[in-house]
């Protein structure tokens, strides 16, 4: 399944890049994340545990995140492996940054490919794209808050809590 999207930050490309590379910032922005622990023997790799509230597939998920193909301050690749609730999630995403000088904004675009198995595939497929876009907007809004609390560009009016 392909999931694509983009997000506009108010700020220059280097600051946006810096925050995207900051594990603490990321950890506090990922919705439901409980832990993001760097792996000892591997750079740009973390073990994560997240709690997701999402109708029938609510629960705790564990997994690994690995960052590669880092081409500062323009692009990088993210590999995610997760499991929980009788489901497996395998995915990767390429994130690209583009500075828009006219508005002094930086656009982050992602193209992700996810292979979803088990219970989520059976009963969550229908809502997965909507959920992914909801969760990623929450994530980027969280980062934007940290970057510049006064200038969060995108609307965060979507209600918190489980997606029906």
């Amino acid at each position: 399944m392909e999931i694509t999207g983009s997000y506009l930050f108010h700020g220059d490309q280097q600051s946006v890049w810096n925050i995207l590379m900051n594990p603490d910032a990321i950890a506090s922005a990922i919705p439901g994340v409980k832990e993001l622990v760097p792996l000892e023997n591997e750079a740009h790799a973390w073990r994560a545990e997240a709690k997701i509230g999402f109708s029938a597939i609510s629960g705790t998920y564990g997994g690994f995140i690995h960052m590669s193909e880092i081409n500062a301050p323009t692009s990088y690749r993210l590999d995610v492996k997760g499991e929980g609730q009788q489901s497996l999630i395998n995915g990767h995403a390429v994130m690209t940054l583009l500075f828009l000088p006219d508005t002094h904004q930086t656009q982050v675009t992602w193209v992700a490919e996810a292979a979803i198995s088990g219970k989520i595939a059976r009963i969550g497929q229908r809502v997965i794209k909507a959920a992914a876009s909801f969760l990623s907007r929450k994530f980027f809004n969280g980062l934007a808050q940290q970057l510049n609390p006064a200038a969060v560009l995108e609307d965060d009016s979507a209600p918190d809590g489980p997606i029906p």
Partner: protein, 782 residues
């Protein structure tokens, strides 16, 4: 006055308890100390098991045991071994040890004090997989380079069955044809979706060494036969009880790993064990139906004579061969290629392909809906190609009235008189004026269509000798014991076990008709192997034709005894005794009678019996049918298609069925109603979707469309009565006719509505999106 209890549409006696929550299902069984079992299932469709780590789960409080495939060595067998087909049945372990082959394949079981603890512990089991490529389409599975499920099943071909009774004639027919119609038909996978999911409970008695398993089964005696082999508990120490069973549609014929595991775990732990599946578990582990890719051809003369019919079928078997799986796309499919028509030559090649999907088996109609669909679709296309009216074209090829007619497949149809049913159905819709209405509507941009199916089907399975010849690993006879208490209350102990078909009512009617006991004094006992005589189960529309015949035979035998006893009591000769409505009397003196209850009491007391008569009132009989039965009829659907949205509206549905004499017309109607709904649902609504990796995407009722009452008009039912010549009371089965006839009827009606668009066939189900895409020239994802 004689009460005509036979033919009376009395209400189902079992319904009050079934619909007021007072019935006991397998999931209602509660025993002291009962453990809850949860099965950990594969999340991937095809993978090597690298590691199954149960340590965290086993350490959780409340968890009594965790077992994997290394702890239990049982295989789930196949019981329909089609001869001369090269059938390979690869081992189907109850829990996988090294490799999983479909999403849902069992990996481990957890036994815990509560269901919640068991589910949590199941979630704590970590499975490490090495994913392998998967294949889900049965045709693709047989191609070079396709992922292989088993090393010793090359090309994933589990069997190749060929029916070719007259190769020379077939070739000649195609060579001499004026026209050959070809089509590729996909019989999409369907989910049986019984209202009650599967469940079981198991109890081991260490003292007597007896194992009792309550299970959602359509055939408890077959369950005992197979589970005895799996668990090693001998049959006389193994008791299977199918209490109330809430529907099955074929999905509760097979023996699944789950009930064997529950029984085994109860023995290991010496504690009762229960298991019930969730609905989404039901959708991945309970068998699916259909799943064919078919290449079919019909040879014709320009005058509309059908010369021959040929089909090559890739039948998806799933990842393992289910209990009756191989019999469905072969015997129950190819042998019906003659349909209701005079087709001189037929050919069927059926290739059973293993795929990384849930196993398939019998689903209502089982092979016959697929056969009827392809015959009727080809008939419709042929009529269109020849520019003939589809009804006139069918009439030209329909079998004339017959008894014991041998068709090209070799079957001997027992009886048929197809024209009256066709006439009744055509009259009901006023066919000719509908065609005028249809033409007028098209002028206004409205698209009406009509579909007419003249069908017959094989059911009432069947002669045991035939069962043996076709590799069915069982008999197909039935048995009944009628036992009358001193006060004249009746228990009929049946080997058969209905699961919603209403036989507690119809069987009581049969006894009442023969012996005069009131229906309310008759109890039909079934579903418990310790209480009932042997029987082979409810499927193939056989319960009433086969078990009903055994029951009637027993009742008639009892009537002879009652007559002899009456003669003794009335001091008359047996030949002079007459019977009417439960009363035995000397001919001409109906007022001086002995009732069946009085006779029973005197026979049971046995103070004075005629010479040679045994005491008591109990009779036992077996019935092995000499032939199958072949119900038939005509179904007509009228639909309207909205070209703007692709929405199909079913406006009218007329069904004229002939199942011989009807014991209870209300129950017959109920069977036909349900059958039509399921068949129409295949044409319009239902379809399993797997992604390329073998993940089931239609895994819940939110994702899989089931038919609902508001999708249907009121059905218009009628019937004709053509008795079966070989049956004691002339009856034929009716449990599957609705499903068999309705799919092509509605499909052909939609394609008839769309004829002005000159479209290729649209794959089922005919959802608005597919119909709209076809009308507007977009790819339809065939």
């Amino acid at each position: 006055m004689t009460t005509r209890i036979f033919g009376s549409g009395i209400k189902r006696r079992e319904d009050p308890r079934l619909i007021t929550g007072r019935a006991t299902y397998s999931d209602d069984i509660r025993l002291p100390g009962m453990l809850h079992m949860v099965v950990v299932r594969s999340e991937l469709a095809h993978a090597r098991l690298v590691k199954v780590d149960t340590s965290r789960a086993a350490a959780l409080p409340g968890v009594v045991a965790v077992f994997t495939g290394h702890d239990v060595a049982m295989n789930t067998p196949c019981a329909w071994l089609i001869p001369d087909s090269g059938l390979k049945v690869p081992p189907h372990p109850v829990l996988a040890t090294d490799r999983v082959r479909y999403v849902g394949d069992g990996i481990a079981i957890v036994l815990a004090e509560t269901r919640y603890l068991a589910e949590d512990a199941a979630g704590a089991i970590h499975v490490e997989y090495e994913e392998l490529p998967a294949v889900v389409n049965p045709e693709e599975a047989t191609r070079d380079g396709a992922p292989q499920l088993f090393d010793d099943v090359p090309h994933n071909i589990a069997f190749r069955w060929i029916m070719n009774p007259n190769p020379e004639g077939l070739k000649q027919a195609f060579d001499s044809a004026d026209l050959v119609i070809k089509e590729r038909i996909v019989q999409q996978r369907l989910l049986p979706t019984a209202m009650e999911p599967r469940a079981c409970a198991a109890q081991w008695n260490a003292g007597t060494q007896e194992l009792t398993i309550w299970v959602t089964s359509q055939n408890p005696h077959i369950h005992r036969f197979i589970l005895s082999g799996m668990t090693g508990v001998p049959e006389h120490k193994l008791r299977i009880i199918a209490p109330e069973v809430g529907g099955g549609f074929g999905s509760k014929i097979p023996v699944y790993p789950d009930e064997a595991l529950a029984g085994w775990a109860a023995m290991q732990l010496n504690r009762p064990v229960r298991w019930s599946e969730t609905r989404s578990e039901n959708y991945i582990t309970t068998i699916h139906g259909r799943d064919h890719v078919e290449y079919v051809e019909m040879a014709l003369k320009n005058d509309g004579t059908v010369l021959a019919l040929k089909g090559t079928v890739y039948a998806g078997m799933g990842a393992y061969i289910s209990t009756a799986g191989p019999g469905i796309p072969t015997i129950l499919h190819g042998l019906m290629y003659s349909g209701a028509y005079n087709i001189a030559h037929v050919y069927c090649e059926s290739i059973g392909a293993l795929t990384n999907t849930t196993p398939t088996d019998a689903y209502r109609g089982a092979g016959r809906p697929e056969a009827t669909f392809l015959v009727e679709r080809l008939m419709e296309k042929a009529a269109n190609a020849l520019n003939m009216d589809p009804v006139a074209f069918r009439r030209k090829n329909l079998l004339p009235k017959f008894e014991n007619h041998t068709v090209a497949t070799g079957l001997i149809y027992d009886s048929g008189d197809y024209e009256p049913a066709l006439q009744k159905a055509l009259a009901a819709v006023d066919y000719d004026s509908f065609r005028r209405e249809q033409a007028a509507a098209r002028e206004q941009g409205r698209y009406l269509g009509i579909g007419v199916t003249t069908y017959t089907e094989i059911c009432g399975l069947g002669p045991s000798q035939v069962a043996g010849a076709i590799g069915f690993q069982g008999g197909l006879w039935e048995s009944a014991i009628i036992r009358v208490s001193p006060a004249g209350k009746v228990q009929a102990l049946m080997g058969i076990s209905p699961h919603g078909q209403g036989e507690e009512t119809t069987f009581a009617q049969l006894i009442s008709e023969e012996l005069g006991f009131p229906v309310e004094d008759i109890e039909i006992v079934h579903g418990d192997t310790n209480m009932t005589p042997m029987g082979w189960g409810t499927y193939g529309s056989r319960t009433t034709p086969v078990a009903g015949a055994a029951l009637v035979k027993a009742a008639r035998k009892m009537k002879e005894k009652a007559k002899a006893m009456a003669a003794h009591l009335l001091e008359a000769a047996v030949e002079d005794i007459d019977y009417d409505d439960g009363k035995f009397f000397v001919k001409g003196s109906p007022d001086k009678f002995k009732s069946i209850q009085e006779i029973t009491l005197m026979a049971t007391l046995a103070w004075s019996l005629p010479p040679g008569m045994d005491p008591g009132m109990e009779e036992s009989q077996f019935y092995d049918p000499p032939n199958f039965v072949y119900p038939f009829g005509t179904h007509i659907a009228i639909v309207e298609v909205d070209p703007q949205t692709g929405q199909v509206t079913l406006k009218r549905y007329v069904a004229v069925d002939d199942c011989g004499p009807q014991i209870n017309p209300l129950i017959v109607s109920g069977q036909i109603h349900g059958g039509i709904v399921q068949g129409v649902a295949q044409a319009l609504f239902e379809g399993v979707v797997y992604d390329d990796h073998g993940q089931l995407l239609t895994g819940s009722m939110m994702d899989y469309t089931l038919p609902r009452a508001d999708m249907f008009p009121t059905f218009e039912l009628d019937h004709t009565v053509t008795p079966s010549p070989h049956h004691p009371i002339g009856i034929k089965g009716v449990g599957e006719t609705g499903t068999i006839a309705s799919t092509p009827t509605v499909y052909n009606a939609v394609m008839d509505a769309l004829r002005p668009f000159n479209l290729d066939d649209i794959p089922m189900p005919l959802t608005p999106a597919r119909v709209w895409a076809a009308i507007h020239g977009h790819s339809n994802g065939h």
